[in-house]
């Protein structure tokens, strides 16, 4: 029997003005994207606190997708530039925690780009699916009380 395909759980943070409407448009025009993404609407991608992403990942999400207006088209002038900088710095930080940076993604989409957003989301879901489960709650919960097993030492890059 074929093994059941891994279904990642992905939290999407979308901005109210462009990408949430793009997602709406995708729905209205029946452009399909995988149901693995749970969208949360923010007023702006600049509202995307890195804490949101960390909480999602710790609580069982396998990936986080942030969407916002294209650079230069932010409803709040340049907050999506801040979102981009935060996203890039967050990815660097996550890497040090052993989390593949590709689990956190940023997609620009205007309100008219429903079909393109659906495409991009589908691509992102497949790439996160390929990374496998994150299971962060297990990583944190499983530590602390295992005895030393020094016979099988191996170097692990910090």
């Amino acid at each position: 029997m074929a093994e059941k395909q891994f279904e990642p759980l992905i939290i999407g943070f979308t901005c109210n003005w462009c990408s949430y409407r793009a997602a709406d448009l995708a729905g209205m025009s029946r452009a399909k994207y995988p149901p693995n993404i749970r969208l949360i609407r923010l007023m702006c991608s600049g509202r995307m606190d890195p804490e949101f992403a960390l909480k999602a990942l710790r609580s069982g999400a396998d990936g986080v997708i942030i969407t916002g207006c294209h650079p230069g088209e932010c409803h709040y002038l340049e907050q999506n530039y801040k979102a981009l900088r935060r996203y890039l710095l967050l990815r660097r930080t996550l890497k040090q925690f052993g989390i593949e940076p590709e689990r956190v993604r940023l997609i620009w989409a205007s309100a008219a780009e429903g079909a393109r957003l659906a495409q991009e989301l589908t691509k992102a879901v497949e790439e996160i699916r390929a990374l496998g489960p994150l299971s962060w709650h297990n990583v944190v919960a499983a530590d602390g009380d295992r005895p030393l097993e020094l016979q099988h030492l191996e170097e692990v890059a910090a």
């Binding site: 650079p71 890039l88 967050l90 530590d143």
Partner: protein
């Protein structure tokens, strides 16, 4: 012993600086001695664990517990002192949120032990001997504490009544807290509500006398690379300063002498993850990318180039708060531990 209230201070995984800071309240230490009986304080008085085990539960009125939980012994002592103490205080950054010991949560236990017992240039260990929790010798069985994978804060293993942040806590703050406890014990005044004491509720920037303008940072400098202007905000000069995301109470001592805040008082009230807030703050003050200026590829490259001047973001932003961070540790061994 007399019927004076009992004070204890214990070190788990720590450096001993908290004890020094406590003794640094100078002549007030005489007041502490006048009010309290010392019930357990390995740094300054000779007590054994069996003395503590012999106390009735709740015998110690106030226990200042410093140090993180790194080994099974640390954890045992935390449980013992919790049982024997009426008021348990997480004293200092290690007990509060992991501090420097918890930075090893960014690597594995095996890598940490390798560094300590094999890889340092000054180590000579040809037989690759590592400490073992259980060792059989002709005379009998020897036991060592188990070295945990993950460094934890005190409140992750036992209930904590109060927290005094700082690495180490500032002596005037320690004295203020001890005074409040003494007043409560001698005059029957109720103790303050549980939580963080001996610190302020605003960021270090509030206490920093440096002049603040608009922050526009083009790159970061390591402290040895520049001589900072003595009057202007260090972050504005491109020197990493965690003051914006760190609880005050220290009096902004480090920024005043030209060293950016290291973040030792932990997150400001209401913030769960100090590092995430630093990511937010640092990304916000970068001077790159105005609308319409650069195309998307070039923009990303320029931002990445600036971030290249921050060599260790996780270790910098979580220098003191790793054990209390949302993620708490790095994933281990090909991500397969479950």
């Amino acid at each position: 012993m007399s019927d004076k209230p009992k004070l204890a201070m214990y070190w788990a995984s720590s450096c001993g600086g908290c004890e020094i800071a406590t003794l640094n309240i100078h002549e007030h230490i005489l007041d502490v001695d006048a009010v309290f009986d010392i019930a357990f304080f390995p740094c300054i008085a000779d007590f054994k664990i069996k003395d503590v085990q012999g106390y009735p539960d709740g015998y110690i009125d106030v226990c200042l517990f410093n140090g993180a939980i790194r080994t099974s012994e640390n954890e045992e002592m935390a449980h013992l002192l919790r049982q024997k103490s009426k008021v348990l205080v997480a004293f200092g950054s290690c007990a509060y949120e992991g501090c420097i010991p918890a930075l090893s949560n960014l690597t594995t236990r095996e890598a940490t032990l390798n560094t300590v017992y094999l890889d340092n240039p000054t180590i000579d260990n040809p037989n690759r001997i590592f400490p073992q929790p259980v060792t059989e010798v002709p005379e009998g069985t020897l036991f060592l504490p188990v070295f945990y994978h993950t460094v934890k804060s005190l409140d992750q293993v036992v209930k904590v009544d109060y927290t005094i942040p700082g690495c180490p806590p500032e002596p005037h703050q320690i004295w203020a807290v001890l005074q409040a406890v003494v007043t409560a014990l001698t005059q029957g005044v109720p103790l303050p509500p549980s939580g963080v004491v001996g610190a302020s509720n605003v960021a270090v920037c509030e206490e920093c006398p440096r002049q603040r303008n608009v922050k526009k940072i083009k790159r970061f400098y390591r402290p040895y690379e520049v001589v900072p202007d003595p009057d202007i905000c260090l972050l504005e000069q491109g020197l990493m300063c965690l003051g914006i995301a760190t609880r005050g109470g220290c009096g902004a001592l480090c920024p005043q002498v030209g060293m950016g805040c290291r973040g030792c008082y932990g997150a400001v009230p209401g913030v769960e993850d100090q590092g995430a807030k630093m990511v937010t703050a640092i990304a916000s003050v970068m001077d790159v990318g105005k609308p319409g200026e650069l195309d998307e590829v070039k923009l990303e490259q320029e931002i990445e180039a600036i971030f290249d001047t921050i060599p260790d973001p996780a270790g910098t932003f979580y220098r003191f708060s790793m054990a209390h961070s949302i993620l708490r540790r790095t994933r281990v061994n090909g991500y397969d531990r479950g």
